[in-house]
Symmetry: C2
Subunit: 333 residues, 2 copies
Amino acid sequence: MSRESVLLFGLGGIGGIYACILQLSGKCDVHVVARSNYNAVKEKGFKLISPKFGNHDGLKFAGVWKSTEEAAASGTKFSYVLCANKALLDAKPSLSDHLQPIITPSLTSIVLLQNGVGAEEPLHKSFPETTVISAVVWTGGKPLPTADGVEQFNREGLTIGVDYRKNGDKAEEDATLEKLVGWLKAGKGDCTVTEDIQSERWVKVIWNCCWNSLTTATRLKTGPFFESSSQALPLCYTVMREVEAVAKAKGLKIEDGTVDKLIKQCTDVAYPGLPSSMMADNFAGRPMEVEVILGTPVREGQRLGVPVPTLTAIYTIVKALDYGNQNAEAAKA
Amino acid sequence: MSRESVLLFGLGGIGGIYACILQLSGKCDVHVVARSNYNAVKEKGFKLISPKFGNHDGLKFAGVWKSTEEAAASGTKFSYVLCANKALLDAKPSLSDHLQPIITPSLTSIVLLQNGVGAEEPLHKSFPETTVISAVVWTGGKPLPTADGVEQFNREGLTIGVDYRKNGDKAEEDATLEKLVGWLKAGKGDCTVTEDIQSERWVKVIWNCCWNSLTTATRLKTGPFFESSSQALPLCYTVMREVEAVAKAKGLKIEDGTVDKLIKQCTDVAYPGLPSSMMADNFAGRPMEVEVILGTPVREGQRLGVPVPTLTAIYTIVKALDYGNQNAEAAKA
């Protein structure tokens, strides 16, 4: 029997590393959808620079495709589609639109390697028969400036679990996860499996809601932001406590002391502290992950009657910055 | 008896227009402190371009000085010092520091032609014997690009009143105001006298807290901001209602419907709507009037136990933008 196939959708810093891990595992055929860097990857293969996985040059994937349509047209059936593209809930085409051609209902599982919360729900709606695996990514990866590979610049790790579907077969979904985790571990990937991935996701979004949005709105890394006024650090607590309250109202498990721990993880970093991906996107004028990081917590807070005044203000400001970036004429008006 | 003297401190768009109005009144000797444009004004006089007051070239003031110290050293005693410099509560030297050399306690009154709230208090502390007159400025004035005059581009008007001092003689302070108003009216200035200038100031700060801060934080004029998301306009109401609640808790008179009226005044403006002075300062990297527009309302809210979560978040963000503008190395860190 020939090996199973996986598809990496979104070959940026994170997608590139997980394509390499699976490729190095030798357990499956790895296909990639490379949009901006198709030509380089198709012709020269892929490069990995990593203190953990070693340096590799010219990794040859089983398939390099320009789009999911092209991947589907090749006739390959995929066991997993790993989505490491930017999480833009309001993008058109949506992630579901992109995945439609390559989902084989009886076979394919969707794996989210993305920031934020709320991305699973539209996938369950679009693909009610499909297992959705969701991972919180703790990996530092960035594309090489030459666009033909990635560099791992910080730890690698996933907290991963099934976002169980209603009326699904739990044992079957768990087995699906287990197989993927086995492949990742064979490639030396670091996986922590959890039965409660949503709690993990929300802990990470407590972090992201605060640092991503405030570095974006203030255009400062965390260190100078803390120095900018006596209100700066208290505002971070306020933001995190609002998101924590929303998560708890959803029935998720957030351990006592989580906010203090997350604040300390950031204040412990030497000056100038941390930038964020959203801040970088804003400076570069790229679409920002506003909805999965801020929009879902705001909407869930409003739905559940949890007061989120600070989150709402910051969401509205970041949303407007995003709008200005995507609408040059409005920004110049 | 020779005519009385007034000094204009801050010869920008607003200060320039009121220097001209008093000069054209013929009722007093007008001195000016011109900092950035001293040489031009000293040599060629001052230019006014105005649909209301006419165009004037080479207006010659009684005195043109580089600083308040120089004005004081001339031996002139001033009946009024009109302050039209930027309102920066945390600037060093402070406004009190600047005024110290030219205040003659038995003679001089201080007149504030500035944005925001909270600027009177430090003046009362520094000059307890001095009448402080406070005005809400509705005038559109901007310096000419040639830096030797001003252009009036919108209506001209002041709402003006005494910020009565404790244990002062009300009749005497009222007479002081009346004399100045007489001169301004003689120069065709439009003055509405009020006994409750703080209520007027706070109504204007309800306006400024919203539009100045949100145009600054989002880098959009009001029109594109309204289009940026469905949360944008509700956020404006929230900001204004928080400031309104603080003003009411201070015992000030804010008429019913004030917030609706202020919102409508802005939404009625044709696309792209309004920019703000704070937004312009931010783009130019100049110090912003954060404390008199946002800081005082936040602190008064906290002091009085009025919830101001939205204002606090926006204040902290704008404060950080101001910090980044004033600390280039921190912003680049």
